[in-house]
């Protein structure tokens, strides 16, 4: 056990030393598909001039659904005020893809829904648990948060507003 913590300590030191200099998320050739099979290049999405929210969810994850329901209620006004687009990246295994499509439609979500069935994007971003929300603006990560509790969406709004103004 001691060795494990020693190793973790070493890694943390590594990160502290190196973190400042490393470039923004380099998502290389990660491509996700939407329900119609249209290919979306994630590095392009993150370079957008307008702020972009990337929210990871799955049909079995109840806090994820609560978060996306809550944001959906205010999404139109966010789009007007912040020019923001939300990409809801579904990490469900492939069996639930059809369910995810119908869930999003039935809930009346107006997001861009993308599928990451092999969890490639989730893995590249080192995400452990969902819900996990990231905000990018002009290629820069401006906010990230794991978990959801009621009111988190207001904090998200304020963070984006503060970052882009």
């Amino acid at each position: 056990m001691f060795n494990f913590f020693k190793n973790i300590f070493l890694v943390l030191i590594t990160i502290l030393i190196s973190n400042a200099s490393f470039a923004q998320d380099n998502l290389n050739e990660i491509k996700l598909k939407n329900a119609k099979g249209k290919v979306v290049q994630m590095s392009d999405v993150m370079q957008s001039d307008k702020p972009v929210i990337i929210s990871f969810w799955a049909t079995w994850c109840s806090p994820c659904l609560r978060e996306l329901d809550a944001v959906n209620e205010v999404y139109e006004s966010w789009q007007e005020k912040l020019g923001v687009t939300l990409y809801a990246v579904c990490v469900d295994d492939a069996r639930s893809k059809a369910k995810a499509v119908s869930l999003a439609k039935g809930k009346g979500w107006n997001y861009e829904i993308l599928y990451d069935p092999n969890q490639d994007l989730k893995r590249v971003l080192n995400i452990i648990n969902i819900p996990y929300t990231l905000v990018y603006h002009k290629g820069k990560l401006i906010y990230k948060h794991t978990g959801y509790s009621p009111g988190s969406e207001d904090v998200l709004f304020e963070k984006i507003q503060a970052a882009i103004l």
Binding site: I8, V11, S18, R95, H145, V155
Partner: protein, 561 residues
């Protein structure tokens, strides 16, 4: 191993320092180092008579993971170090005990080609033939160790080829796997107008599996081939998909993991059909599936979640609450033999339909604030067969036998105003415990009611509370009641108290209480809790994981960089 690991870390440190210095000087992008750390620790109580828990030898146990990735333009490399020290958490595979570098890879990707050497994750289509994946909560990491090639000559075509063995704890299985998958967008390929005619995609997969056999059965298949074809069509608000998979003849294994001594070998197949129809804020989802002897390991004698080749999970609704997760369907996708080689299951057939509708504000049912309604029905039966002697049994490819599982549920979500939301769930479940768990009644019946409410006190302060009850027939444990109260200060703090009370029997009544708190900031989170845990999926503070039964203190922490 630790020594090796320290050396590796020092290398990373050096690389990163050099990169750091150089990038500051020349302002060039020399790549990115990233990763994550997760540690789940438990300190078990000595014993807890009320739930029949006795502490194992090592009362403090932990499962920890460190992942490090380096990426520079198209090149990437990484490793994962896992430590289950001083011992592994209860309920996880025992062969993981110890520590070591479990996964490592190097990959290069360009616009048209990407190649990986080492450990990688992959799935063909929906995973019917091949899936390699990680699920830490389940103790699953069956990454393929070998090589992968991905070719995308255009947006219309994706070709994959893989070769390797699957990871098993700190080593690999014996079975060798190879395969290829091609996915085509017919619209792009044949210039079909998508708006006018809809979107067509199709995919073809092949997987081969080879494992030597040195037993006494003549002509035992050492090499097995799997094929599948899938298609989907989408136009406006309708989408349809179909998939068929077939396996050549393979030997059979009984429920204790022993090879059955017979010269009769069986093929396997799956047929799966799905349809989604959606309107404005409304959707229907239909699914039908038949599975005949089609879940496989890369190694004949593997057990439970070890060395799984393909992915054929239960197609039922996944429910979210404590008491709705007691009787959960587990797909019966393979031949099941009792010792003595009597067949008692040949697969399953059934389906699911789900309807979801959001009644908008100011509509009759929606009222002032709108209302969300969901209805779900699922039914699965065993695939029928005549006789139980493996040498003469007749297996029907399209005939339902006894019922395995039936699930009906209604869910109503209502926001009364911006500060008060409620959620009502009713479920009726028929569960063939004997078939699914190997003991008990073949007719466990239950009715479940859940009422949940969320009250927003201030902008970031809120209370979530639920009460649940399950009425059970034909299970010795009987009825359960449950309540939870959760106080959250968004987005960082959460405090919770929960109790599940199994009161419906005379000899083993028990409270499964739990109290805890969580803190999250950025990508970091820590959850500390104390109590008794019934095995199942647990979600608190917006983070979900599967916890095995135990009593004690648990700390779960994770962080990514």
């Amino acid at each position: 191993m630790n020594f090796r690991f320290s050396i590796l870390l020092m290398c990373f440190t050096t690389i990163s320092m050099v990169v750091n210095a150089q990038s500051k000087k020349k302002k060039i992008d020399l790549g990115k180092l990233s990763g994550s750390i997760e540690s789940n620790m438990q300190y078990y109580n000595k014993k807890d008579d009320a739930i029949g828990f006795v502490a194992p030898d090592d009362r403090f146990r932990s499962n920890s993971y460190l992942k490090v990735n380096y990426q520079n333009k198209g090149f990437s490399a990484g490793l994962q170090y896992e430590a289950y020290e001083p011992n592994i958490l209860l309920g996880f595979p025992e062969n993981l005990k110890g520590n070591g570098i479990t996964n490592y890879y190097a990959a290069y990707s360009s616009k048209y080609v990407s190649a990986t050497l080492g450990h990688f994750y992959e799935q063909f289509g929906s995973g019917l033939l091949l899936r390699s994946w990680e699920d830490r909560q389940l103790g699953i990491n069956n990454a393929l160790f070998g090589g992968k090639l991905l070719i995308t000559p255009s947006d219309a075509v994706t070709i994959k080829a893989v070769y390797g063995k699957k990871r098993d704890a700190y080593t690999t299985g014996n079975g060798v796997i190879w395969g290829s998958d091609i996915e085509l967008s017919l619209n792009k390929l044949f210039k079909i107008n998508e708006e006018k005619n809809g979107a067509f995609t199709t995919g073809l997969s092949y997987v081969g599996k080879q494992e030597s056999y040195d037993g006494t059965i003549n002509n035992y298949p050492e090499t097995v081939h799997l094929f599948s074809i899938r298609s989907s069509y989408q136009k406006n608000n309708i989408s349809l998909n179909a998939e068929y998979a077939y396996r050549t003849k393979d030997g059979s294994i009984n429920d204790l993991g022993k090879i059955i001594n017979t010269n009769r070998f069986f093929t396997g197949n799956v047929l799966q059909l799905g349809a989604t129809i959606s309107g404005k804020k409304e959707s229907w989802n239909f699914m039908l599936r038949k599975v005949n002897n089609f879940s496989m390991y890369t190694d004949r004698q593997a057990k439970l979640n070890q060395l799984i080749l393909n992915y054929v999970p239960a197609l039922t609704k996944q429910h979210h609450f404590a008491l709705t997760n007691i009787y959960v369907y587990n797909a019966q996708t393979r031949f099941s033999f009792l010792p003595g080689n009597n067949l008692n299951s040949a697969g399953e057939m059934g389906g699911q339909v789900e309807w979801l509708k959001t009644f908008p504000k100011k509509s009759k049912l929606g009222g002032k604030t709108g209302l969300q309604l969901g209805v779900n029905f699922a039914y699965y039966a065993a695939l029928a067969f005549d006789g139980t002697d493996i040498n003469t049994t007749k297996i029907y490819n399209f005939k339902a036998g006894e019922t395995n599982f039936r699930d009906f549920s209604i869910e109503v979500k209502k926001s009364w105003n911006s500060k008060f939301k409620t959620n009502f769930t009713y479920m009726n479940v028929l569960y063939n415990q004997n078939k699914i768990e190997g003991f008990g009644s073949d007719n466990v019946q239950s009715n479940i009611v859940v009422i949940e409410s969320i009250i927003k006190l201030k902008k970031t302060h809120s209370i979530r509370a639920d009460v649940q009850h399950i009425w059970v027939k034909n299970d010795y444990r009987g009825n359960w009641a449950s309540a939870t109260i959760e106080y959250t200060i968004a987005p960082m703090f959460n405090f919770f108290v929960a109790d599940l009370y199994n009161y419906g029997n005379d000899f083993k009544k028990a409270h499964y209480y739990n109290v805890g708190t969580s803190f999250t900031k950025g990508s970091a989170s820590i959850i500390v809790s104390y109590g008794r845990q019934r095995e199942g999926l647990m979600c608190v503070g917006g983070v979900c994981r599967l916890v095995p039964a135990s009593t004690g203190l648990s700390i779960a922490t994770s962080f990514s960089f």
